[in-house]
């Protein structure tokens, strides 16, 4: 069991997952998003290579209306 914090919310997973699997789990596949892991950008090209570890802090962001 690993626990991640995604956008401030705890999320549990039975087995280790990579970033692509997290994106799928969040139903965000194909969406314009960007991800930061423990303060570092995860380039989209590395989503499938980067395995997430217990305790990782993730920020998943989108563009929204703003001034």
């Amino acid at each position: 069991m690993i626990q991640l914090t995604v956008n401030g919310q705890p999320q549990q997973f039975e087995a280790p997952i990579n970033v692509t699997q997290l994106v799928d789990h969040l139903a965000l596949q194909g969406k314009r998003i960007a991800i930061e892991r423990n303060g570092e950008i995860v380039p989209r090209s590395q989503f499938s290579q980067q395995m997430l570890a217990h305790g990782d802090q993730l920020e998943v962001v989108v563009a929204v209306g703003g001034g």
Partner: protein
């Protein structure tokens, strides 16, 4: 052509608009299109987890292929939050490096914290961001931001969202006179005449959001703002007449007025 050039890229519109506070994306799109703006600001926020997965995305409505998106750091009160937000924005927008930096000092006034803004600008410039920076209307700070390598300085006219117009045209004038990079008024414009005055002062552009979005008819106000910015720019280029309390120089001929026996004096 009288174009606006920011970081080497040419724009025909001198009106930049935000995309917040509209009632829906249809209104956002209609207002942005009517404004004629080519550069539009967007905010970067956490996506909803596990809810509204199918909700429309702003970038589907205002595609990066059609507009120059200017991601901002609205809501950031620290150097770290601002820098992290813009790194995420660059990744989100496929390496796009033109950004709007603002580091706020206080949630009541949303006045910028210039000490933190200077620190954040330095980090971002080192990371090859092209930084358009929201600033107080302090001419010294504006010059420091220019000297460190910001691509545009954007002094406030009055507080964000206040609609109070240009409270200190004299400071703006000094900033404009000193600057070799574009100066854009950002924040405080309330109505069309405010935008015109900013442009008449010699600003290179105006950035606004609430003045359009909070109007009773945002699309009509977007049209007004487009004209206001164009009118102000033309008046600036034309060069206004000198102010005189009395001119004694009527616009119509003084001679030949009927029924007069004198020479018109």
């Amino acid at each position: 052509m009288d174009n606006l050039i920011i970081a080497g890229k040419t724009y025909t519109s001198r009106l930049l608009v935000g995309t917040g506070k509209y009632k829906d994306f249809d209104e956002t799109r209609a207002a942005v299109e009517t404004s004629g703006a080519e550069i539009i600001t967007v905010a970067i926020r956490r996506t909803n987890i596990g809810q509204n997965a199918g909700e429309p995305n702003l970038l589907d409505v205002l595609p990066p292929s059609q507009y120059t998106l200017l991601p901002n750091t609205a809501g950031c009160y620290t150097v770290e939050d601002a820098v992290r937000t813009l790194r995420l924005a660059r990744e989100l927008l496929d390496g796009h490096s033109l950004v709007k930096l603002e580091v706020l000092g206080d949630p009541k006034t949303l006045y910028p914290n210039m000490v933190e803004t200077l620190k954040a600008a330095e980090i971002l410039i080192k990371e090859d961001f092209q930084v358009m920076v929201y600033t107080s209307d302090d001419p010294i700070v504006a010059k420091q931001l220019e000297d460190m390598g910001c691509v545009a300085v954007m002094p406030l006219a009055s507080l964000i969202g206040s609609g109070m117009g240009i409270l200190n045209p004299w400071n703006l004038q000094i900033i404009i006179d000193n600057a070799k990079i574009p100066v854009l008024v950002d924040a405080g414009v309330g109505t069309a005449s405010d935008a015109t005055i900013a442009m008449e002062l010699g600003c290179d552009g105006v950035l606004m959001n609430t003045a359009i979005a909070a109007a009773n008819n945002p699309v009509l106000m977007a049209s007004a703002m487009r004209k206001a910015v164009e009118a102000g720019r033309e008046a600036y280029l034309a060069g206004r007449m000198a102010r005189k309390l009395y001119s004694a120089s009527p616009s119509s001929p003084a001679d030949g007025v009927i029924g007069c026996s004198n020479t018109g004096k």
